[in-house]
């Protein structure tokens, strides 16, 4: 082993080991897995109607096609698979269950009405077109207002209306505090409907064990343990008989952190036919049926004093749940996220919210990077600018006056969330400095017009919920969300290390960062640590990878587990060396006397003793082996934070927004690998840019999905993403293991409001009021022309 190796690995950039195979095209994704003999390929017949009764399904032409095995309808699954629903326990929630394949009624375009089983994927696709379904179309609702209208068709008739979830909150004496402030500003913000658009759509393959009654489900998931529990529950199987494993997964972003009906279906069919069953999604199905997100309407009223200090906030949030609740977050995730996160980095002590989630004839919505937070910060950060404009105070100064200051931590916010540490003010100041805020403002003319373009600047100062533990999930009604994650760490007989983690990587770099963490704590080389995850048969139980929890909870459990193993290493080494274990340290691949490093042993020497591979015995009472298991349930949440500042130019000729400068200050506590954190910030910022400027799934009033393709669902490309000037501040958490906070979502949360505010600032001279995203050129041009008194063209 190299004596000059620096073993302080947490906080150091090392190159991602997974890139050596991913970049060479050697990653084994779902569709790269070897196919078992006798594999059945399935395809789903999608409903063309948003709401209709199914009158008849004629599969005779499809069945006549050579290679078609069967065509099954919803009724064919009724005995096999329970209707689908998560367990949510929260006031104001009304349960709706979803058949895995529609029975008698379809409720959104793309909902499966039949499943084709065939010998090849091509035959399955051809057969799809031959299945004749007769529908009786029914009136449908697509939008939130439509769904809440008094005469709206009721989607789930037993409920009596379309309200799936409704809750409220109010601090003591709210109305008094609200009335006491000098003035009230009011606005209604809207966010567009978006989705994750992973580079790899979803897919799954269920394989029966040839000799026992066991099954393996390969699936593109971020949450293998939760998938296993859900399938076992809905199919009446033993959890021990099912292995759920994720191969290499090409992006998740929350979209793959759900359990989907197809995952239940392939296992049910594998059980019925005793053959392997595979399904791979295409891009249209991705955009049509995978979880969508956002589409929020946020009415906000801010009672503010003349000095710009907020006295009270009233928030009314309405979210579009789609046709059915998703599994496992139902329809409460974005709703509760938006209202609970809105106070953000600001000292808002008087707060009232009303929030609801409504059923519509659209695809189910759920978790997508940022969950509720981009919308919440669009509202509160938008109001910061409005307060500034109204009172003639610089918007940065309004934020300074309201933000939780460094000396005020730990701070418990108005809904009871503890902010253990944070750098809200330093982060804001740093961001302003990086973009040259003061100079820009000084030079900015009142009409914002410089060189033929309107130029503006926008700020978002955000907090980012990360590493949510069990209490954080319970308080939001998620009765069966474990919250913890776990690891098993083994020092093998050769002294090298294997760590099994309950998480599932979708490109985040776990195989590198988790190795860094274990190596750091065991004084080993990170190259000697092998990370195994995403497989319920290999790792202990856990929650999985979403909601910025990988590094906090996965990293935390590995640290704890490493320390448990280190105790045993010291005990055995102490016996071998006859040195007090308290005097022993693990460093540079050795365990040695902290004052006299020559006195020591290699990890391998200790491991050989532990595995009985030499003539030395173990101390009395010591068991063989050198491993430990750890379950880590983190605090309710740990709050990361940051600031995005965007400078944009809006072209009045074509309505295009050009991002001229972009600064991000990011604080995720203890950084494990700065390069990977930067990658998270860049990627999430790009997605925030997409959501702010171009991405939107469009449904018409009849519930028809009008852009289930990537020509018309616009994603940001390298042409749209500017150079991002990035600075890290490290304010370690005092509540989590090693001070780690999450890093994955802040980019989206920061970018969306910063860009909306920048465009609003640029057009403020014209009197244009920006209250919604996406800000596409056609929309902006229309606003400019209206403001200039020109006929919209």
């Amino acid at each position: 082993m190299n004596d000059r190796e620096d073993f302080t690995l947490i906080g150091r950039t090392v190159l991602r080991r997974e890139d050596s195979y991913l970049l060479r095209g050697l990653g084994q994704f779902l569709d790269d897995l070897p196919e078992p003999n006798g594999l059945i390929h399935i395809a789903f017949v999608p409903s063309p109607y948003a709401r209709a009764s199914i009158l008849s399904i004629d599969a005779s032409a499809a069945l006549a096609l050579p290679g078609v095995i069967a065509v099954l309808t919803g009724k064919d699954f009724e005995g096999d698979v329970k209707t689908f629903a998560p367990e949510i326990v929260i006031d104001g929630y009304r349960e709706v269950r979803r058949p895995v394949v529609a029975v008698d009624r379809v409720n959104f375009v793309g909902e499966s009405v039949a499943v084709v089983l065939a010998e090849s994927p091509y035959v399955a696709q051809d057969a799809l077109e031959l299945v004749e379904v007769e529908y009786d179309p029914l009136p449908a609702v697509a939008g939130i207002e439509q769904s809440l209208a008094a005469d709206a068709p009721v989607i789930h008739e037993k409920l009596g209306d379309n309200l799936l979830f409704k809750t409220r909150f109010e601090t003591d004496g709210f109305e008094q505090h609200f009335a006491a402030a000098d003035l009230v500003l009011e606005e209604e913000f809207r966010t567009g409907r978006v989705t994750g658009v992973m580079i790899e759509p979803r897919g799954c393959m269920a394989c029966p064990d040839p000799v026992a009654d066991n099954f393996t489900l390969w699936t593109t998931t971020q949450i293998p343990h939760i998938v296993r529990t859900a399938i076992a529950d809905h199919l009446g199987m033993a959890e021990s008989a099912l292995r759920v494993a994720a191969p290499a997964v090409g992006g998740g972003f929350g979209t793959k952190a759900h359990v989907y009906p197809d995952e239940l279906i392939v296992v049910a069919l594998a059980r019925r036919y005793r053959r392997a069953v595979k399904w791979v999604q295409d891009r249209r199905e991705d955009l049509l049926t995978n979880i969508h997100a956002r589409e929020h309407v946020l009415g906000i009223q801010v009672a503010v004093n003349r000095d710009g200090i907020i006295g009270a906030v009233r928030l009314d949030v309405r979210t579009n749940a789609g046709a059915y609740p998703n599994h496992p977050y139902s329809c409460t995730l974005e709703a509760t996220a938006a209202v609970r996160m809105m106070p953000g980095p600001y000292k808002i002590r008087n707060y009232k919210y009303d929030v609801c989630s409504v059923a519509t004839n659209t695809a189910p919505t759920g978790a997508y990077r940022g969950t509720g937070q981009p919308s919440a910060f669009l509202a509160i950060e938008g109001m910061m600018d409005r307060i500034g404009r109204k009172l003639g105070i610089d918007p940065a100064e309004v934020r300074r006056r309201n933000v939780v200051r460094p000396e005020e931590f730990p701070y418990v916010n108005v809904v009871g969330v503890r902010y253990d540490t944070g750098s809200y003010l330093p982060s804001l100041e740093r961001g302003l400095e990086m973009i040259g805020y003061d100079a820009f403002r000084k030079a900015q003319p009142k009409d914002r017009m410089v060189d033929g373009k309107y130029r503006g600047i926008g700020i978002c100062n955000y907090t980012e919920v990360s590493g949510t533990g069990a209490p954080g999930w319970r308080v939001r009604g998620f009765a069966k969300m474990p919250g913890f994650d776990s690891s098993r760490l083994v020092i093998e007989p050769d002294g090298r290390i294997t760590v099994y983690v309950s998480q599932a990587d979708a490109g985040q770099g776990h195989y590198t960062t988790f190795a860094q963490i274990a190596a750091d704590r065991l004084g080993a080389r990170w190259e000697d640590v092998n990370v195994i995850e995403g497989d319920t048969s290999k790792t202990p139980y856990g929650t999985g990878t979403f909601a910025s929890r990988g590094s906090v909870v996965g990293g935390g459990t590995i640290i704890r587990c490493s320390e448990k193993v280190a105790v045993k290493v010291r005990r055995i080494a102490s016996y071998m060396l006859d040195i007090d274990p308290e005097r022993l340290v693990l460093t540079k691949g050795r365990v040695c006397d902290k004052d006299d490093p020559v006195k020591g042993l290699s990890l391998r020497d200790v491991a050989e003793t532990a595995y009985s591979m030499n003539n030395l015995g173990l101390p009395q009472g010591e068991e063989h082996g050198l491993e430990a298991t750890d379950y880590y349930d983190p605090p309710m949440v740990t709050m990361a934070n940051g600031t995005h500042v965007a400078q944009v130019a809006v072209d009045p000729e074509d309505g295009r927004v050009e991002i001229e400068r972009y600064a991000v200050v990011h604080d995720c506590g203890r950084v494990i690998n700065p390069m990977i954190v930067a990658g998270q910030v860049h990627g999430a910022t790009a997605q925030g840019i997409g959501e702010a400027l171009m991405e939107e799934i469009v449904y018409d009033a009849e519930g028809q999905h009008l852009n289930a393709n990537l020509l018309e669902y616009l994603l940001p490309t390298a042409m749209d993403v500017p150079d991002i000037d990035l600075a890290h501040i490290e304010t370690p958490s005092i509540d989590t293991v090693a001070g780690i906070k999450g890093a994955a979502e802040g980019g989206v949360t920061g970018a969306l409001p910063a860009l909306a505010n920048a465009v609003a600032d640029a057009l403020s001279g014209l009197g244009v009021n920006i209250t919604r995203v996406p800000l596409r050129p056609s929309f902006i041009l229309e606003q400019i022309r209206k403001a200039r008194g020109q006929v919209p063209g």
Binding site: V45, P46, P48, Y49, A50, V109, L128, E129, V131, E132, P137, R284, L287, L288, D700, E702, Q704, H705, L706, N707, A708, N709, L711, E712
Partner: protein, 189 residues
């Protein structure tokens, strides 16, 4: 969605009317039209083959007529199914009036579309619809002009543009409407 448009046919209405009674000519002029069948005095079926971008479909339309007034117009109620490609249904009010020497045809249709065509074809539909409706009217005009011995005039500027729809329109919807309109004349004649 609403589809609206009008077309000047430089032939007198009586000639237009008579010509439109010829089902063979309609089959020729309706782009992609494979059949027109009369099921009853007010019920018809038509098959139209249409391609929009990546979506190919044979569109089976059921058509009904109401408010028939052979000289002035009628309302067409239609529903078409393209199987896996999706569906269209709607109604169209068609008016026919004299315009100088010629005939002015105007229509206003309310149409609902759905399925794959809506999902992946929206961007391509406008252009295709424009092309196909031009084809139909040009064909009709040429057939009639040839019959009457008159030269084919330039299209009036007002009608050279696509039907002025407020939304993205669908080629097969337009085709269906045209088929319906044509059947209407044929029947009414």
């Amino acid at each position: 969605m609403i589809l609206e448009g009008e077309w000047l046919i430089p032939i007198d209405r009586r000639t237009v009317w008579r010509a439109l009674n010829d089902p063979e000519m309609l089959r020729v002029c309706i782009p992609g039209c494979q059949s027109l069948e009369k099921h009853s005095d007010t019920e018809f079926a038509s098959s139209i083959k249409a391609a929009v971008g990546p979506v190919n479909a044979t569109f089976h339309a059921k058509i009904g007529l109401t408010d028939i007034d052979p000289d002035r117009g009628y309302t067409i109620v239609g529903e078409g199914k393209g199987g896996a490609a999706g569906f269209a249904r709607g109604k169209a009010k068609v008016d026919l009036e004299d315009d100088g020497e010629g005939t002015r045809l105007s229509y206003r249709a309310e149409v609902n579309i759905g399925g794959k065509l809506a999902q992946v074809g929206s961007r391509l539909i406008q252009g295709t619809a424009r092309k196909l409706s031009e084809q139909f009217f040009r064909c009709l005009t040429e057939e009639l002009s040839a019959g009457s011995g008159k030269p084919t005039p330039e299209q009036p500027a007002a009608t050279a543009a696509a039907p002025s729809s407020t939304n993205a329109s669908l080629v097969w919807v337009v085709a269906a409407i045209l088929a319906v309109a044509a059947i209407g004349w044929w029947f009414a004649g």
